[in-house]
């Protein structure tokens, strides 16, 4: 456990608030990189991080894509897991009992294969008291609209957010895809549709080819690029979104060290998510939290909120 914050009087306050949820610090895992929390329990104290964010949940269990599902790239990785998950009911039955024991807010990331499914999952999440907020992943193809991704079309994004909003009284975080011409258009659309916070970015679509076999390295051919390679793009988009909407923003994309997280906070993110870095170092989030605290001390900042959005 991180040393108790109350014993030393001079320690800066790292607490932040996102859409009414108070987090002890602004660092949480990115969906899909931390399982359902329990997978990482042997490696860090789950009560030291700001929140837990689950793997993306759907109405029914989802099998995901054929393998290979992952490939390493330069300073990044491609994944095409295909949103494999146990489904919302099994999640409630098998994963909630463990999460319930923790004094850490749990955010459920979720998605649907159709508009209706998004709504149905939202309804079930509403009924799970241990879930303090929902993170809506709109990076899934909208089957009805010819497979375009909900999150790339401001109208479709708006529609799904409106529906989910109508089913959910809990704080609603909407997670945006970076694979768009202008992320601020989508951000504004989801703000108007009732989102309480925005999380960005999801992965950038990429491809890697094995030159000997002449086949894509992923069975799914393309996959999502994550890791340090994408950080400059993520920082730019977070900065843009912060300017464009008045909602709190959670920054994600390529954070590995405290200084990476600080870039996002200075750009205006109220909190950050750590994804791929969990694979590299299971206690990465703890190192990051400690590093943020040290930075605040060095810079004479006694409340992290003074740092947020302090970009000149």
């Amino acid at each position: 456990m991180r040393p108790d914050q109350t014993t030393q009087s001079k320690r800066p306050s790292l607490a932040v608030e996102i859409a009414g949820i108070r987090l002890r610090n602004p660092v949480m895992p990115a969906s899909g990189t931390f399982g359902y929390g329990e997978e990482y329990a042997p490696f860090l104290d789950l009560e030291d991080i700001g929140a837990i964010v689950t793997k993306g949940l759907s109405l029914k269990p989802k099998a995901g894509n054929p393998t290979p599902r992952i490939a390493e790239t330069i300073s990044g990785m491609l994944n095409a897991i295909g949103l494999q998950n146990v489904g919302i009911d099994a999640f409630k039955k098998h994963k909630i009992p463990f999460l319930r024991t923790l004094n850490t807010p749990v955010i459920a990331n979720f998605f649907g294969n159709t508009l209706e499914e998004y709504g149905e999952v939202a309804e079930r999440l509403e009924d799970i008291p241990e879930i303090v907020a929902a993170e809506l992943n709109i990076s899934c193809p909208n089957v009805k609209q010819g497979g375009i991704v909900f999150g790339t079309d401001p109208k479709a994004a708006s529609e799904v957010v409106r529906l989910v909003r109508s089913k959910l009284s809990k704080p609603l975080i909407v997670k945006l895809t970076p694979n768009v011409t202008d992320i601020t258009v989508v951000a504004r659309a989801v703000e108007e549709a009732g989102a309480d916070a925005i999380c960005c970015i999801n992965t950038l679509t990429g491809m890697s080819i094995d030159i000997r076999t002449r086949k894509p390295r992923l069975a799914n051919r393309t996959g999502g690029l994550s890791g340090p390679a994408i950080r400059p793009i993520a920082v730019r988009m977070v900065h843009q979104v912060v300017q464009a909407v008045s909602l709190p923003v959670i920054g994600v994309g390529g954070i590995v060290r405290a200084m990476d997280a600080l870039e996002f906070l200075i750009a205006g993110a109220t909190a950050v998510q750590v994804g791929t870095a969990n694979f590299v170092d299971p206690s990465a989030m703890i190192t990051i939290i400690n590093g943020i605290e040290e930075f605040c001390i060095e810079e004479g900042i006694d409340d992290i909120n003074q740092l947020i959005g302090s970009l000149r």
Binding site: G35, E39, Y40, T67, P68, I70, R217, F279, V280
Partner: protein, 284 residues
Amino acid sequence: MKNYRTKIISNQEISPGYYRMRILAPGFGKKARSGQFVMFRVQRSLPPLLRRPFGIFRTGFLPPDCDDMPPTEYVEILYKRVGRGTTIMAELHEGDRVELLGPLGNGFDLTSSGGEKILVGGGIGLVPLYMLASELVDNNSVRLLMGGRTRDDILAVTEFERLGVETYVSTDDGSLGEEGLVTQVLERKLQKYPDAEVFACGPMPMLKAVREKCLEYQAPLQVSLEEFMACGVGACLGCVVKGVGHTDETPSYLCTCTAGPVFKAEHLDWTGLGNNDSECGGCS
């Protein structure tokens, strides 16, 4: 299961392209079972970005540097230099800082009663078999069938022999032991010991051939698999293989890192295995 931030004790080339690394790891041995693995990384080194999985060859103790000190506990891995990560590893020295996550995964199931145990290793696939052999030798008659392309791919045989394991070597080019595939030897052994239990680790074509033979002779088989891994702890879902009965409608995906890497052959969907013919080394 823990992340060891530790140091290399030694790192040597033991055969062309094959290396043996000992890493300081107090308390590791008590937790590790045969068939488990570790996720390795050079500390503070990016790239490569992701950790690399390696089987546990053995754990042990070095005599203390001086009388009053406790002995030094280590974990030993054997690895083949194939791509970017293992090339960097091959250049490491005593004292270099590394990180080791482990022991991870499900080891071999040793609950069956004593008797004939046949261990089949292909190349670097022999790694998990050494600890297995050392756990089996007391109550079983253990044989190691070791295959490789050339004599350079045949590793650590004398160490198995020192345990009291009978070893049979075959190479594709006949440069050591019998010329031909390890499954030839396996077939003869299965004919001779109809009650034998088989444990195998090696390249997928070998595992498939071993499985055919075990089906034919109705020998129980456990295999240790390799899949691309990002996390090693069941969180990323990158390392799955299809379980028996998998269909597109009723999918069954098993994580190699938590449900495996050792599986009972009958729990796997063998048709889907080994279609991943990507050659790596491309991400550097």
